[in-house]
C-alpha cells in the first residue's frame, strides 16, 4: 500500500460577510484561517504524501478554469494540487486577506470538483476530500444542486463543511444530545442566523444527508471545534510492517504466523543536521576522526594502521573484524520457537526488556493457521500460562528469549510477545528491609492518612451507569516532546529571528493532575503533610563538579548547564579510564599537574596557577616532608614549562618565591631546593 495518499481541496470563503464579528469575538474569517493554518501545519510536519490545493471565493478578482461568460466569478484557485509546504503556510499567513466581494459557495464547490478532476488524472489517490470553510451568508442558487450531488457521488468525493455555527442548533437547545460534542457558546448561536444562512444551512444538510444518510451530518464541523482538534500536531504514524514466520513447537508442529510491532518507544523520524552557522549549509561542515598514539606528541596514525581489539578484563585482545565475523555466534535466522510453557505469574512485569511489544496473528488468509493459533491462544489463556520462546528477527539480528502472552479480545485474538532478560542483563540488588525496620514503620494514623489520600486520588471512577471512567489515559496523550519540537520548528520557520515560544498552555495542562483530583486531594494531602515530618538532610560537602571547580556561573541558562553536565560525564569516564584528574589535587600535585598538561584538560596558565596555589599551601606547613613535596611540584613545573617552551610563568613564580623566602623563614626549604635541583 506504499504511496497511498489523498487529494484535498481547502475551499475558503474570504468574502465580505466573513469579516463581520460580534464584539469580543473573532471574525469567522480569522477562525477559518486558523483552521486552515493548523491543518496545513500538521500536514507539513507529518510529511505525508497527501496533496493539497487551496481555492478562495469571495475574492475581488477571478482566476479559475471555469471562468467564462460571467460565470464562476470571484473565485480564485490560489494553489494547485501539490504537497503542502512552508510556502503555502506563509501565503496563508501573509497573502490571504479578507476581501470585499461575495461568491456563491456552490459555484466554488464546482470549481473544486473540477480542480480535482483535472489535476488528479493519471495518478492514483485513494481519497478525495473537499473542505468548505464559509459562513453561508451568500445566497446560493440551488438550480444544479442535484447534478452536483450526483457528480460528487460518482467521483467519490468526501465533502466536509466548516461553519461558524453548529448545524444542529435546535437539538442543542432541546435535548442537548450533542452538547458535549459541539461545546457551549458558539458565536452566532446567540444572535441567530440570517435568512441566507438558514437557507444555506438547509441546503448543506440536504447535500450531506443525500451523500450519506447516516453519517452525513458528522462531517459538518464548527470552527471552534476544529481548532481545538487540530491544535495537536499529528501523532507519528508508521505503517506496521509485517513479519511473517512460523511458530514452532518441537520439530513436528508449526503454525504460520505474522507479527506486527504494536507498541514501541517511538523516536523522532528526523535527526538534526549540523550546518555551518554562516552559510547554513551542511556541506560546509565536515567531521573527521583521527587516531593518535597516547604519547607526548600525540603522534597521529592512519586508520589503516590500526586494528580492532577488545577488552577482556585487564587484557586487550587484538581481534580483527574478519576473525570476529568468522568466530561469532551464528544461528539459523528468523524464528519463533517455543522453548516451553510456564505460569504467567512467573514472568515478572518489571522484567520486560527491549522497547517494544509485538502482536502475533495467524498468517494472512490462512484459516487453518488461524484455528491452530487460536487453540494455542485459548489454551494459554484458560490455563493462565505463557509460551517462552526463542525469537530472532532475521539472520543477522541477535536472538532473544521472550514470553508470548495470550490476548483474547472481543473481536480478535493474538499472542503478545515481549522480550525477557538474559542472565547478563539482570542486576540483583539487595535493599534494606522497610517493613522490619522499626524506625521506618508507619503508625496506624500515618497509614490511614495515606489510605484517604489514595481514596481522594483515584483516577478511575465508577460512573452512575456502572461504567468505569479513566480520568487520565496516558496512551491517549500525544508525546509532549514531539508536540513541543514541532511547535518550536514551526515558530522558527515562520519567525526566523525571534526567540523560541513558550510551551503551549494546553500541552502543559494535559500533563498535569486533573483539576477534579487536585481539588479533592487537598485536605488528605494536608493530613499527610502533618502526619509525615520530612526534613531535608544538610548535604555533606559533595564532590565538586567540574562546573564548580571551573567556577562556572550557576546563572547560566539551562541548556548551557546541561552541557556542563555532559562535560562532567566525560571527565568521569576519563577518571575511570586512566584515573585522570580534573584539577591539581593535594595528594600528588606534581602528577596531577603533568596529567592535566598532557591531556590539555585545563589551559596551561590555569594549571600553573592551581599548582602554585598547592605549592604555597604545602610551604605553609614548614616541615621537611612538605618541603620535598613542594620541590617535586617545582620540578614538574619546570619540566613542563620547558616542554611547552613557555617558561615565563615558571620564571616569574620562582623569582617571586625567592624574594619571599627571607620574610617567610623558608631558608631551609630554599637550601633544600637548591641542593636537590641542579639549576
Amino acid at each position: 500500500m506504499a504511496g497511498s495518499r489523498s487529494a484535498l481541496v481547502l475551499c475558503m470563503d474570504v468574502g465580505l460577510s466573513m469579516s463581520n464579528n460580534a464584539p469580543g469575538e473573532e471574525s469567522a474569517y480569522e477562525q477559518a484561517k486558523k483552521v486552515m493554518q493548523k491543518f496545513v501545519q500538521r500536514q507539513v510536519f507529518a510529511e505525508t504524501k497527501d496533496e493539497l490545493a487551496l481555492v478562495l471565493f469571495g475574492t475581488d478578482s477571478t482566476n479559475n478554469r471555469l471562468d467564462q461568460d460571467g460565470q464562476y466569478q470571484n473565485i480564485t484557485v490560489h494553489r494547485h494540487l501539490m504537497i503542502p509546504d512552508f510556502e503555502l503556510l506563509e501565503e496563508i499567513e501573509n497573502q490571504i486577506q479578507p476581501e470585499n466581494s461575495q461568491a456563491d459557495w456552490l459555484d466554488a464547490l464546482v470549481v473544486c470538483m473540477d480542480l480535482i478532476k483535472t489535476e488528479t488524472k493519471d495518478k492514483k489517490y485513494d481519497r478525495f476530500i473537499i473542505a468548505l470553510l464559509t459562513d453561508l451568508s451568500t445566497q446560493a442558487s440551488s438550480e444544479h444542486l442535484d447534478v452536483i450531488i450526483e457528480n460528487l457521488k460518482q467521483t467519490d468525493i468526501t465533502l466536509q463543511f466548516f461553519l461558524p455555527f453548529p448545524a444542529e442548533e435546535d437539538e442543542d437547545e432541546n435535548g442537548g444530545r450533542d452538547a458535549d460534542r459541539r461545546g457551549p457558546g458558539h458565536p452566532g448561536t446567540g444572535k441567530g442566523l440570517t435568512s441566507e444562512q438558514r437557507d444555506g444551512l438547509d441546503m448543506v444538510k440536504h447535500v450531506m444527508l443525500t451523500l450519506d444518510e447516516d453519517e452525513g451530518l458528522g462531517e459538518i464541523y464548527t470552527f471552534r471545534n476544529a481548532i481545538e482538534q487540530l491544535r495537536m500536531f499529528k501523532r507519528i504514524e508508521k505503517r506496521p510492517t509485517a513479519w511473517p514466520c512460523q511458530l514452532t513447537i518441537g520439530s513436528c508442529l508449526s503454525i504460520r504466523i505474522i507479527g506486527y510491532k504494536a507498541v514501541t518507544d517511538e523516536k523522532m523520524k528526523k535527526m538534526w543536521v549540523t550546518v555551518d552557522a554562516q552559510s547554513n549549509q551542511r556541506e560546509d561542515v565536515k567531521r573527521e576522526t583521527v587516531y593518535c598514539l597516547d604519547d607526548d606528541n600525540e603522534t597521529e596514525v592512519q586508520m589503516d594502521d590500526t586494528i580492532q581489539g577488545f577488552r577482556y578484563g585487564s587484557d586487550i585482545v587484538p581481534f580483527s573484524k574478519v576473525d570476529q565475523d568468522q568466530m561469532k555466534y551464528r544461528h539459523d535466522g528468523k524464528c519463533f520457537a517455543v522453548l516451553g510453557f510456564t505460569k504467567q505469574s512467573l514472568v515478572q512485569r518489571h522484567h520486560f526488556m527491549g522497547n517494544q511489544v509485538m502482536k502475533i496473528f495467524p498468517a494472512k488468509d490462512d484459516e487453518h493457521a488461524a484455528v491452530a493459533l487460536s487453540s494455542l491462544i485459548r489454551a494459554l489463556d484458560e490455563l493462565e500460562m505463557v509460551a517462552i520462546v526463542r525469537y530472532a528477527y532475521n539472520k543477522v539480528s541477535n536472538p532473544q528469549v521472550g514470553a508470548a502472552f495470550p490476548c483474547v479480545k472481543q473481536n480478535y485474538e493474538c499472542l503478545m510477545y515481549v522480550q525477557l532478560p538474559f542472565m547478563e542483563d539482570l542486576r540483583l540488588f539487595t535493599f534494606p528491609s522497610l517493613e522490619n525496620n522499626k524506625k521506618f514503620t508507619p503508625s496506624e494514623s500515618q497509614l490511614s492518612a495515606v489510605d484517604s489520600l489514595i481514596d481522594s486520588m483515584m483516577l478511575v471512577e465508577e460512573e452512575e451507569d456502572g461504567e468505569k471512567k479513566d480520568l487520565f489515559k496516558v496512551h491517549q496523550i500525544p508525546n509532549p516532546a514531539f508536540q513541543r519540537h514541532f511547535q518550536c520548528l514551526h515558530h522558527r520557520a515562520l519567525n526566523p529571528d525571534t526567540p523560541l515560544p513558550a510551551m503551549e498552555p494546553w500541552l502543559k495542562a494535559a500533563l498535569e493532575r486533573p483539576e477534579v483530583i487536585s481539588e479533592r486531594c487537598k485536605a488528605p494531602l494536608g493530613d499527610v503533610k502533618k502526619q509525615f515530618p520530612l526534613t531535608e538532610v544538610e548535604k555533606k560537602k559533595q564532590l565538586k563538579t567540574s562546573a564548580q571547580i571551573f567556577g562556572k556561573d550557576s546563572e547560566e541558562p539551562d541548556a548551557k548547564k546541561a552541557k556542563g553536565d555532559e562535560e562532567e560525564g566525560e571527565y568521569n569516564l576519563a577518571d575511570i579510564a586512566e584515573g585522570s584528574v580534573t584539577s591539581v589535587g593535594s595528594v600528588d600535585p606534581a602528577r596531577d599537574f603533568r596529567t592535566l598538561i598532557k591531556q590539555k584538560t585545563l589551559p596551561f596558565g590555569e594549571a600553573c596557577q592551581q599548582l602554585t596555589h598547592r605549592i604555597e599551601q604545602l610551604l605553609s606547613n614548614k616541615n621537611t616532608h612538605y618541603y620535598m613535596k613542594s620541590i617535586t611540584c617545582i620540578q614538574a613545573f619546570r619540566e613542563q614549562s620547558i616542554k611547552l617552551e613557555n617558561a615565563d610563568l615558571y620564571n616569574s613564580y620562582l623569582q617571586s618565591l625567592k624574594r619571599s623566602i627571607p620574610n617567610r623563614g623558608l631558608g631551609v626549604f630554599w637550601d633544600l631546593l637548591v641542593q636537590v635541583s641542579c639549576f
Partner: protein, 611 residues
C-alpha cells in the same frame, strides 16, 4: 551518563549512547573504581568434602570467585579484585611482613590469566595444588586483615567502593587466643574506618556456625540497621553462596536521585536503580598495528572549504520540513527538550488491572527511598508501599529522569520484600517503575478477522501445553551472543586452540520436546490442518503470477503535451509529474539531459520552455 554507559559497556557511537543514556538515565557524582577483596580461609577444615560427594567449602568458594571474576570481566572490568588466603603454611605478600597470609592475586583488574589461575584451584586437582603451593597452617585473621589494608593503601587509584568478603567455616579462628582475637578486631575496625565494608560469607560447619562470639565484631554493621545484614544461617549450597555473593558484589548505584512530589510541597527523596539493562557486546577499541597499543581518537569539526576548525559557536543545527530549512542554535535544540526540572510528580492512583500488559516501551527501573537525602522518606514510602499493595493499586506519576529530558508517565508498582528460606532477599521492598507509552507509541493495527478454535481443539492444545510445562526463572538463560564473544576473546587471550563451546540455552531442545509430545502433535495437526496442508511451505502462488505477467507488460507510455507542461509550470505543479513522464517530455522537445534526477529534468524543461 558517560559513566553509566561505561559501566554497562555500551558506550557505542553517539546516537546509540544518547538513546541508551536516556533509557538508563542519570549520572552520578561519585567517581573512582570499585574494589573487592576475597579473603579466603585456607585451613584444613575448608578442604573437607561434604557428604555425598558435595564439594568442599574451599572448592565452592573458588567456583564463586571464578564466576565473579568472569562476570566482572563482562560487566565491569574496571573494578579491582584481589584474592587472599589466610591460615596458609606458606606466606606471600608484598613486603613479606605477614606470616601465613598468601596473596594469590593482588588488587587489580581481573584478566584472562587470573581466571585460569582460579580455575586451577578448583576441584580435587585444585585442592592438591593449594596444598602444594600454600598449605594450611596457623591462623591470624588480624595479620590477614592488615595485609588487606596494605593492598588497599598500595593502590594509587581512587577507590569509590571497598568491600572485603571473608569466606570461612570456622567461627573461632584463633581457638580462644584472646590476643589474636583482639588484634583482629582492632584491624577490622581500622579497615572499616577507611571505608572498607567487611562481609562474612560463612560456610557450613558441623555443629553450626556461630557468628556471635567473634565475627559479629569483625563485620560491618548492616546498612540502615536492618536485620538483614548479617546472614545468620551459614551457606551450604553453591547456589546460595553464589546468590549471596552476587547480591553484595555489585554496588548499588542510583541512576538518578529525585524528589517524588505528592503535591502541596510534600517531597520524598527517592533513588532510581536500573535492575535490568540489556548487556551488549562491548565496542571494539582501536589498536596501533605495530605495537597493539590502544590509540585515542579525536573528532574534529572543520570547514570544508577553508579547512579551519569550527568552534561550537560556528555551527548550528537544522532540519528541513515542507521544503524549508529550519535552523536553530545547539543550545536551543537542547532547550526544546526541557520541560521541567528532574523529578516525579504524583498524578493519582489506578487499580492494578489498568496497567496493561502491552503498555511497555522500555525496561523498568526500581525505586527506593533515600533517607540520607530527606529524613522521613523511608517512612512515607513504606506507608505508600503498604497501602498500595494492600489495595492493589499503582501510583501514576509524571517523571523527568534527567535534566533536559522530556517527561514520560510511569506507573509505580508496589513490590513487597520477599526472602527465601535462607533469609536471602529475593525481591527488595520498593516500587517498580514501569514506563508507559504515549499515543505516538501505540501503532494502529488492523487485526484480521479469523475463525477461532473449537473446544476440542483447545483441549488438545492444553495437553500439549501441559506436557511442556517448566518453571521459568528470570535470568535463567545466558545470552549466547555475548557468551560466544567472550569465549572467543578468552581463547585468543589465553592462546587456546579453539574457544570453549557454549551451550545455546535459548535453542529449543527439539528432540526432548518431540519425545515428550509423542503422538500429541500429530493428533493436534489432524484436528486443525486438512490433509496435504503444509504450514512450512511458502505461499509462492502470488509471486509466480507477478513474475509471469509483470515483465512483458510495461506501463503504457504517458505523454504530456507542451501546453500541459506549460500549465503545470505556471501552476507550480510540475513536480507532480513522474520521472518517466518528464523524461519523455524532454525527449519530445529534443532536450538532452545528462541527469536523471527529477529536479534536473524539471530545470531542463523550465529552461527550454521559458516562462
Amino acid at each position: 551518563m558517560a559513566e553509566w554507559n561505561a559501566y554497562y559497556r555500551n558506550d557505542g557511537d553517539d546516537e546509540e549512547e544518547q538513546e541508551e543514556g536516556e533509557q538508563s538515565g542519570g549520572s552520578y557524582k561519585i567517581t573512582g573504581r570499585d574494589s573487592l577483596v576475597f579473603l579466603v580461609d585456607a585451613s584444613k577444615e575448608m578442604f573437607i568434602k561434604g557428604e555425598d560427594g558435595q564439594p568442599s567449602n574451599f572448592d565452592m568458594t573458588m567456583q564463586v570467585v571464578r564466576s565473579v571474576y568472569s562476570s566482572k570481566i563482562i560487566s565491569s572490568h574496571r573494578d579491582l579484585v584481589a584474592l587472599v588466603f589466610y591460615g596458609t603454611e606458606e606466606s606471600k605478600n608484598p613486603r613479606n611482613s605477614f606470616k601465613h597470609v598468601y596473596v594469590y592475586h593482588d588488587l587489580d583488574e581481573p584478566g584472562a590469566k587470573r581466571v585460569q589461575e582460579v580455575d586451577a584451584l578448583r576441584g580435587d586437582e585444585g585442592a592438591k595444588l593449594a596444598a602444594k603451593t600454600m598449605g594450611s597452617g596457623e591462623t591470624s585473621l588480624g595479620d590477614a586483615l592488615w595485609c588487606c589494608a596494605n593492598l588497599y593503601s598500595d593502590i594509587k587509584l581512587r577507590l569509590s567502593h571497598k568491600r572485603l568478603m571473608i569466606f570461612t567455616c570456622r567461627d573461632e579462628p584463633h581457638i580462644g587466643d584472646s590476643t589474636k582475637d583482639r588484634q583482629a578486631r582492632t584491624k577490622a575496625n581500622d579497615l572499616k574506618e577507611t571505608g572498607v565494608i567487611i562481609d562474612l560469607m560463612h560456610l557450613m560447619k558441623p555443629g553450626g556456625f556461630d557468628v556471635a562470639p567473634f565475627f559479629r565484631d569483625i563485620v560491618s554493621p548492616p546498612e540502615d540497621e536492618s536485620e538483614l545484614g548479617l546472614q545468620l544461617e551459614p551457606c551450604n549450597k553453591l547456589d546460595d553462596l553464589q546468590k549471596r555473593v552476587r547480591a553484595k558484589e555489585l554496588r548499588k548505584r542510583t541512576m538518578a536521585r529525585l524528589n517524588l512530589c505528592l503535591g502541596e510541597g510534600i517531597n520524598v527523596a527517592v533513588g532510581m536503580y536500573a535492575t535490568a539493562v540489556t548487556a551488549k557486546k562491548p565496542v571494539p577499541i582501536r589498536l596501533y598495528r605495530e605495537t597493539n597499543e590502544p590509540v585515542r581518537s579525536k573528532t574534529r569539526t572543520f570547514h570544508t572549504q577553508t579547512g579551519s576548525l569550527l568552534l561550537p559557536s560556528e555551527i548550528k543545527k537544522s532540519q528541513t520540513y515542507g521544503k524549508k530549512q529550519i535552523v536553530m542554535e545547539k543550545d536551543e535544540v537542547d532547550s526544546i527538550k526541557k520541560f521541567e526540572d528532574p523529578g516525579l510528580h504524583l498524578i493519582g492512583f489506578k487499580p492494578m488491572e489498568r496497567l496493561k500488559l502491552h503498555h511497555h516501551i522500555r525496561p523498568a527501573v526500581f525505586l527506593y527511598p533515600e533517607e540520607d537525602e530527606m529524613k522521613g522518606s523511608s517512612c512515607l514510602v513504606s506507608a505508600l508501599l503498604t497501602k498500595c499493595s494492600e489495595r492493589n493499586v499503582f501510583a501514576l506519576c509524571r517523571c523527568v529522569s534527567r535534566r533536559n529530558c522530556a517527561p514520560r508517565f510511569v506507573a509505580l508498582v508496589p513490590q513487597n520484600e520477599q526472602v527465601d528460606e535462607a533469609k536471602t532477599q529475593i525481591t527488595p521492598p520498593g516500587f517498580n517503575v514501569i514506563f508507559l507509552p504515549f499515543a505516538d507509541d501505540m501503532r494502529t493495527l488492523d487485526p484480521p478477522q479469523c475463525p477461532t478454535a473449537s473446544d476440542t481443539q483447545v483441549d488438545k492444545m492444553k495437553e500439549i501445553v501441559s506436557k511442556l510445562r517448566f518453571k521459568y526463572r528470570s535470568g535463567a538463560f545466558e545470552n549466547p551472543v555475548i557468551q560466544q564473544h567472550y569465549r572467543n576473546l578468552e581463547a585468543l587471550a589465553l592462546d587456546m586452540m579453539a574457544p570453549e563451546d557454549i551451550e545455546d540455552l535459548i535453542m529449543p531442545k527439539v528432540d526432548q520436546i518431540d519425545r515428550r509430545l509423542g503422538p500429541l502433535s500429530d493428533e493436534f495437526k489432524d484436528m486443525v490442518y486438512p490433509p496435504g496442508y503444509n504450514p512450512d511451505g511458502k505461499p509462492a502462488a502470488k509471486r509466480k503470477t507477478a513474475e509471469n505477467g509483470g515483465g512483458a507488460e510495461k506501463k503504457p507510455k504517458i505523454e504530456v503535451g507542451v501546453d500541459e507542461l506549460k500549465a503545470h509550470m505556471q501552476n507550480g505543479t510540475i513536480g507532480k509529474l513522474t520521472v518517466p513522464v518528464l523524461k519523455e517530455a524532454c525527449k519530445q522537445l529534443g532536450i538532452r539531459t545528462t541527469g536523471t534526477k527529477k529536479q534536473e529534468l524539471i530545470d531542463a524543461l523550465t529552461a527550454q520552455l521559458g516562462s
